[in-house]
């Protein structure tokens, strides 16, 4: 959306600064939120509360990893809400308790959800990479189609079957005592995404495309396949989050993905990923996710009315962006 010189300047500035300002600033902000919260209610700094927050953060964080892959390319995925809901609905509908294939602990639910997410992401990727439709509008259209399909599939209400046991185990089970499984899953995905981005040709291509797509193409990178791959992975991430949320809530329901789209984008950007693409780290996205979830939760703990919550939420994102998300002056 901005011109070539400003992007080049941004890259140079990123190279010039050695410390990771976004990670530093968002970590400070997290500590500040915890300190303010503890002043209102000391039980906020208890391990129990913090682990509970991390579990909610895991759902958002998994969506945010997918969003980051797409944003690093300089694209955006607005189909998150109904990708989350569609994967959850189809997998509980087919393999949930009371559904057709509900036997065997509903083990099939996981591959079904991932397949639904991958298929949706693949369609997004085809539209963006091969038809060259701007991602913002194409994924918006896919989201509308998914909503239509799900209204048709469920008859406009929630599917009657409840979450398959595997979804409950993945989000709420305790492989490590006291720690909900969603947290280690989130951590594991974080490691995988970091390795993918930092140590594979695919990852280098993601950054290259985000910086200058044309140059990446000229250097022989399979630009269109990489874009297709990122959207497919993002679809899988949303789908996995959908399955985990279903396990947490016990059911899949209409609109269950609506609360993840904008906070996920905010988490990615607060973590220092440039919305124009080409710059950003997994660690930042994790910090951004925790920041968003803690902020929302803390405003609830302080019994702030919804109006104040919305205003403070917006202001905090705004101020954080002013600290480190600014563009550069257009010079000659």
């Amino acid at each position: 959306m901005s011109g070539a010189p400003s992007r080049a300047l941004a890259t140079r500035a990123a190279l010039a600064s050695r410390i990771d300002l976004p990670l530093f600033a968002s970590s400070l902000c997290i500590l500040a939120i915890l300190a303010i919260g503890a002043a209102f209610n000391p039980s906020v700094v208890s391990p129990h509360y913090l682990i509970q927050q991390l579990q909610s953060a895991a759902f958002l964080g998994i969506v945010a990893f997918g969003a980051m892959l797409v944003i690093l390319l300089g694209h955006i995925d607005l189909s998150v809400p109904w990708t989350v809901a569609a994967a959850a609905m189809v997998s509980t509908g087919l393999a949930g308790q009371g559904g057709a294939g509900g036997g065997g602990g509903g083990l099939l639910a996981l591959p079904i959800a991932l397949a639904v997410g991958a298929a949706i992401g693949f369609v997004n990727g085809l539209g963006v990479a091969y038809l060259r439709i701007p991602s913002m509008i194409f994924t918006l259209g896919v989201n509308a189609v998914l909503q239509g399909l799900m209204v048709l599939y469920t008859g406009g209400s929630a599917p009657p079957s409840t979450a398959p046991p595997i979804a409950r185990a993945l989000s709420g089970g305790h492989l490590i005592p006291g720690v909900a499984n969603a947290i280690p899953i989130w951590a594991l995905l974080g490691v995988l995404v970091t390795v993918l981005l930092r140590a594979t040709p695919f990852g280098r291509a993601v950054y290259a495309i985000g910086n200058r797509e044309r140059a990446a193409y000229m250097s022989g990178m399979p630009v269109r396949r990489v874009v297709l791959g990122c959207f497919t992975l993002a679809g899988c991430a949303s789908a996995l989050a959908g399955l985990l949320v279903t396990g947490y809530a016990g059911k899949a329901y209409q609109g269950m993905g609506d609360i993840y789209l904008l906070p996920a984008i905010a988490a990615v950007v607060l973590g220092g990923t440039s919305i124009m693409g080409g710059r950003g780290r997994t660690s930042g996205t994790v910090a951004g996710t925790i920041l968003i979830v803690l902020l929302q939760s803390m405003l609830a703990v302080m019994q702030m009315p919804d109006a104040g919550r919305q205003i403070i939420y917006g202001m905090v994102i705004f101020v954080m962006l002013l600290i480190y998300g600014r563009g550069h002056v257009l010079r000659t």
Partner: protein
């Protein structure tokens, strides 16, 4: 206008002209199938719904033309809706003051976005995402519970008809003829297009970039608040609804794209967006009169939207070198 002028005009405005033809065909079909027949009432209802989205699409168009985007247009409209519902209960001068205050609030909100994007140098997409949360919070403060007290006569006058022509349509035409056409020819208006097509080149040619961009966001706020005002008069109540704000914003983006404005900036205009908004609205009405099952309607709407935006792939067929398709 001689023959070559007309050909040039047609080539420059191919997408809005095509969209206009599609809309005309759809609307005629709708009127023909419509069981109650063509009355002033049907036209007024269609116009009220269409103009509301058209105004928000216009609000979205200006930032998009500069190469930016405004994700807060829906929230500004909801904010104006909530504000107007507390101000339009009186009569005479207090009513005029209420309208002025609502539009001023829209300008203020747009001004806040302008400061964030132009002087704060934040990316428009993420800055307006943050401000939309703030605007929605303020709407909740103004109107914690749905409701409102609106002067009935004023509301029915502005949402009725004048000699058979829907009043809202006249308002929309006034926006296009009295604001948009002159604005496009001003230095600022040309700057909006110049910034959107090549910001660095515009800067080098002495275009006052900051002023053009800021104007785009402020005017966007004013147009969005005008839509909010209209929403208040149509519904005669207000509700601080995040879902409505989101729907309005996303539908406005879709209308802008269908109307031929490029999301990369520099190409398009308000007239196309108005037609795009009318097309989006007519799809729903058409499905209704065609007696499509309510369960199928959202899917049809989604598929038509996806098909419409996929038409944007057609210029790709003209590329002789694959490199041309990469930015």
């Amino acid at each position: 206008m001689n023959g070559s002028d007309i050909r040039l005009f047609a080539r420059h405005n191919a997408i809005p002209l095509l969209a206009g033809a599609v809309f005309a065909a759809m609307f005629v079909l709708y009127l023909a199938l419509q069981p109650r027949g063509v009355t002033v009432g049907t036209l007024v209802t269609a116009s009220n719904k269409g103009v509301l989205l058209a105004l928000i699409a216009c609000a979205q168009t200006l930032p998009v033309l500069t190469g930016g985007i405004d994700l807060s247009v829906g929230a500004i409209a909801v904010l104006a809706n909530c504000l107007a519902s507390t101000l339009l209960g009186g009569s005479g001068l207090s009513l005029v003051g209420g309208v002025a205050a609502t539009l001023a609030a829209g300008a203020l909100a747009g001004g806040f976005n302008a400061v964030a994007v132009v002087w704060g140098r934040l990316q428009p997409i993420i800055a307006t995402l943050a401000t939309s949360s703030i605007f929605y919070g303020i709407s909740l403060l103004l109107r914690p519970d749905p409701g409102g007290d609106i002067n009935d006569d004023f509301a029915s006058a502005l949402t009725g008809d004048i000699h058979g022509i829907p009043t809202t349509l006249i308002i929309l035409l006034a926006v296009l003829l009295l604001f948009w056409l002159p604005f496009r020819r001003t230095l600022i208006g040309r700057g909006v297009y110049a910034v959107g097509s090549a910001e660095a080149a515009a800067y080098m040619s002495g275009v006052r970039i900051a002023r053009s961009k800021a104007c785009a966001y402020v005017l966007s706020g004013v147009l969005a608040s005008l839509a909010g005002l209209l929403l208040t008069l149509i519904a005669e109540s207000a509700q601080a609804s995040a879902i409505q704000a989101g729907d309005l914003t996303l539908n406005a983006i879709a209308a802008v794209v269908i109307g031929g404005t490029s999301l990369f900036g520099g190409i398009g205009g308000l007239v196309g967006s108005v037609i795009g908004a009318f097309i989006l609205r007519t799809i729903g009405d058409l499905l209704f009169v065609l007696a499509a099952s309510p369960l199928w309607q959202p899917l049809f709407q989604g598929l038509i939207l996806l098909a419409a935006v996929s038409l944007g792939a057609i210029p790709l067929l003209r590329n002789r070198n694959r490199l041309e398709s990469f930015r």
